[in-house]
Amino acid sequence: MSNFIKVPLAVNAARSFFSGVIEVGTQDSGYTGGGTRVAGTAVASGATTTSGSGSGAEFSVTLTGGTFVLAMTASNTGEGYKVGDTITLAAIAASTGVTSFSAGIVVEITAAMLVAIEGSATNEYALIPIDNVACVSGVSTTTCDIQVLEYNEATSSSAAGKVTKYTITMDDAPVTTKAALQADVAAAIIKAASAENSQPEVKFTFDAECIKVVLS
């Protein structure tokens, strides 16, 4: 019989935009508005949040082809955006060879546009067996490792890298601390160790949100 802890996964957590290229799609099938559009090379465009509470995102925007397929790359990934929120890309004046649009382009945010998270309505917890847990190691304010008494030769040639671990990654807002994160996780493990089959849930202080748990 194994003992487990439950790590609550944030469902539609407010978070940052994905830092790579975001393929939005075409007008009315990815975005609305835009007025008179001209395809061309990438152009910087500020983003105004029109629903939701995210802020700070800025993009390099490109319209391509006869159907004006929109792609955008975050030059600043911002914070606090949720799936279903909308942003409006500011209009860009026409200029030879450059992407332009005479009116703001409205984009509804999808999960693929934001930093990936594991949590969903049908996946609310990550279960971690604690029988072979060696210790909890603080890595940063957003990352904590549960190190396991097992080798994992495949991961690294270094001695430190050979140890199997569960890496718990938190969203960078709300902000927690490295020590608080370490203590939160350890508290659940200690509780599970002292009460078999209890499956305690990790209670994150400062309302911090877990976005993924990875075994490596």
């Binding site: 190691s137 603080g138 008494l149 097992e150 080798y151 350890a186 200690i190 160790a193």
Partner: protein, 129 residues
């Protein structure tokens, strides 16, 4: 499982929260030569029943915070005894505290609290619990 106070984790330095360390499969506890103020807890594990040679891992408990050395030989003995005790009572989660913490002040108590714990693979250690 053993509990150890973590630096900067609680509502005040005098009320720390805790991290944890597994007390099973420990075969030795030692004080590191370099860096000072690190305790090594050595583990030997058979990953599967058919294994003939154990895997050797080492947890390094880092107390490197203040400028003075805080780990004593008696601390090592105390931790060994606590590990033995925890293994005799499998559901117990006793707390380990360095001896010096008992006489520490508000301004020095953090020297006796854990900065971090890390595990890594190692060659077998020569001493036993």
């Amino acid at each position: 499982m053993i509990q150890l106070p973590i630096i900067s984790s609680g509502s005040s330095n005098l009320v720390p929260r805790f991290t944890c360390l597994n007390a099973e499969n420990v075969y030795a506890v030692s004080k590191a030569n370099t860096p000072a103020d690190v305790i090594h807890v050595h583990y030997a594990i058979l990953a599967v029943a058919s294994d003939t040679a154990p895997l050797y891992l080492r947890a390094s408990i880092d107390y490197t915070n203040g400028s003075t050395a805080v780990i004593t030989d008696q601390d090592i003995e105390n931790l060994k005894n606590l590990i033995k005790s925890a293994n005799q009572n499998p559901s117990s989660t006793p707390e380990f505290e360095l001896i010096g913490a008992r006489d520490a002040t508000v301004s020095t108590i953090t020297d006796y609290q854990v900065v971090d714990i890390q595990i890594k693979a190692e060659e077998p250690y020569s001493s036993t619990v």
